[in-house]
Symmetry: C2
Subunit: 381 residues, 2 copies
């Protein structure tokens, strides 16, 4: 048999962050013959089930540097990697996606400015570094508008919708200490995301646009497919522009608003994303496997759907596992995390051959899961 012509040096990957995204990278990468090391401040970080866990703070450059010396390449499972940590890693091994993308995606203002430079459509925004800026911004964008921290916001945290001067005062009291950005409120028809991957050789692949339904700021449901090819093409063009700009390597996610029949970028994540979890069970190659393949320098896998799919997020508590697993076509994903209000602890993806079958199964799951799911799933019909 022939010699393996691939990059033999990549046998172990290091991951900054040991949450569910790292855990699912491990599950996808182990069959490729890779070993994993995770750096996380939590002693019981759930990625530990799929690799060696090293307990350290994310700003512990000494620990990051030490890990970088023991692995062949590194990546991350969250975007708030401190710049000093990224630099420490790069002294010893490559870090993918490239730190430039990390920097741009950590700050909503830098991100929006870059979109403008690249000619990508975003909603109106206004930088807010003081109360005067905020008043100017409201005068320019009008009510309603959304005030957000420039950094460290996720799952609806660090933001407030301003509908009037009273909301403005309250939001300013709460958020005014941090650098902020005011964004025009987009009365979107739907939210969707594109997940794509760029390989070591510049090859790019994209999964189908996925429609997302949030509940209280946290992703509740995702269903890929069903968008017209014009929107898919537009989304891919936007992502390719960003990927080329960063000389990207790995998986990228763009969240869009669908508004007036077109796409407006909401935000960018330089990583695998919750709205792409369905790819594990519904696509030829998952976002996790393709991310790992890209980081390890391997060719990319097929992103086509082999099944219709719909994902339910389990937040705070699990519904009845056995009851839901008894529904045909259910794939269960428990992250091994202790349940806690507002915490993402797992998901389930329903698959089927046809859209009608999918929705029939998903409606059964929604009824069994209870809570707001029976209502939320109507948005996907």
């Amino acid at each position: 048999m022939a010699e393996d012509s691939s990059d033999h040096r990549v046998r172990t990957l290091g991951v900054l962050g040991g949450g569910q995204l790292g855990r699912m990278m491990g599950l996808a990468g182990i069959p490729l013959g890779l070993g994993f090391r995770f750096l996380d401040p939590g002693a019981d970080a759930c990625a530990g089930a799929t690799g060696a866990l090293e307990q350290a703070a994310f700003d512990d450059a000494v620990a990051a540097r030490a890990m970088a010396g023991r692995v062949d390449a590194m990546t991350f499972d969250f975007e708030n990697v401190p710049d000093s940590t990224a630099r420490a890693v790069e002294e010893h091994c490559p870090l993918y996606p490239p730190p430039g993308a990390l920097g741009a995606c950590q700050d909503r203002l830098v991100e929006k400015t870059l979109m403008d430079e690249l000619g990508v459509a975003v909603g109106g925004y206004h930088a807010v570094s003081g109360r005067t800026d905020l008043l100017e911004g409201v005068a320019r964008l009008g009510y309603p508008a959304v005030l957000k921290t420039r950094r460290f916001g996720y799952d609806g945290k660090g933001q407030a919708v301003l509908r009037d001067a009273e909301d403005l005062e309250r939001a300013w009291q709460r958020l005014g200490d941090a650098p902020l950005i005011l964004e025009a409120f987009i009365p979107f028809a739907a939210e969707c995301s594109l997940i794509g991957v760029r390989g070591a050789d510049g090859d790019t692949r994209f999964w189908p646009l996925t429609r997302n339904v949030h509940d209280d700021g946290i992703l509740a449901l995702s269903r890929p497919g069903g968008f017209d090819s014009g929107l898919q093409q537009a989304a891919e063009t936007t992502m390719r522009r960003l990927m080329d700009h960063f000389e990207y390597r790995g998986v990228m996610t763009i969240e869009f608003f669908v508004h007036g029949g077109a796409l407006l970028v909401n935000e960018i994540a330089p990583r695998v994303h919750n709205s792409g979890h369905w790819t594990i069970d519904g696509a030829g190659c998952s976002q996790f496997e393709n991310h790992v393949r890209a980081v390890a320098g391997l060719p990319l896998g097929a992103t086509e759907m082999h099944s219709q799919a719909l994902m339910f997020n389990w937040v705070g508590a699990f519904p009845d596992r056995a009851g839901i697993l008894a529904v045909e076509g259910v794939h269960w994903h428990d992250y091994g995390k202790a349940p806690r209000p507002g915490r993402k602890i797992g998901h389930a993806t329903v698959t089927a051959d046809s859209r009608a079958e999918l929705m029939a199964r998903a409606e059964r799951v929604a009824r069994l899961a209870g809570g707001r799911f029976p209502g939320l799933i109507q948005q996907l019909d």
Copy 2:
């Protein structure tokens, strides 16, 4: 949200054996929220990547008993579990599949006798406990015939084809010390296997019959589908009879010869099987996940194919990983074992939407893999 009505006690599974089958059980079971412990004599047993590895001999009843006390249920990834070990485990926790099945499948003569009792078609056979038996057997079954050890044979080991008296003498010299069975040589048209699963509640599911091509006694290629529904039904009826007999729980495999348009049982394995590895990438629920679900008392998953699939076994050495991964639809499975002649170290499954596309891709993989693959794959066209 509702309480989980499933069996809460099952959180950790113990596995006797820490090879690739255990490793793939771990990869399938971690997303279900389960933890794994593996007992294996090897310090570097490859299942260690997906759970805690405890180094002990398989006949070390003390170690098995200790593990059984730390887990909620146990299973195994090979059929030669010593009876004393099985009994030690059962003092502390349930062992699935049931030890009765284990006992019957460890001895080819017991297995054949049981088939006869259950009215299942097998080829002619003759018990050989001495030279006289062997001569009687040859007189009854005729040449060619196959002399096999009753126990511990696998991948073509412990057997010899007898075409004449000279072969008989040589085989007797080599194997005569062990209890033997002489089997009629079946000039089969094809070899295939049925993999099925029986759940805690007696529910049974079956994957499609899979055609197998061996090379030098070791599985080289497997492709599911393409058998007429009459054969599928016959195979399922046979397996259901066996499962009911044993009050089975877990995955079972039957290897058949296709001869004269009908199926003859070749042998039975009370476990997940190499010819079912394609289910990871080609079926709704894999053999590994359904085995784990059955052992953990969870409902069974869908066994339908969502994609056409064909598996290549990597024995002894890996072909060019990067070159083969560049073929669309390839899923790579490296077991993390040191390469050694004759050792199964990994597999790759090719998937596609249509059979024509599948064979085009698989032929590219066969050419890249080289060796005997380009010839062997012709048997599947």
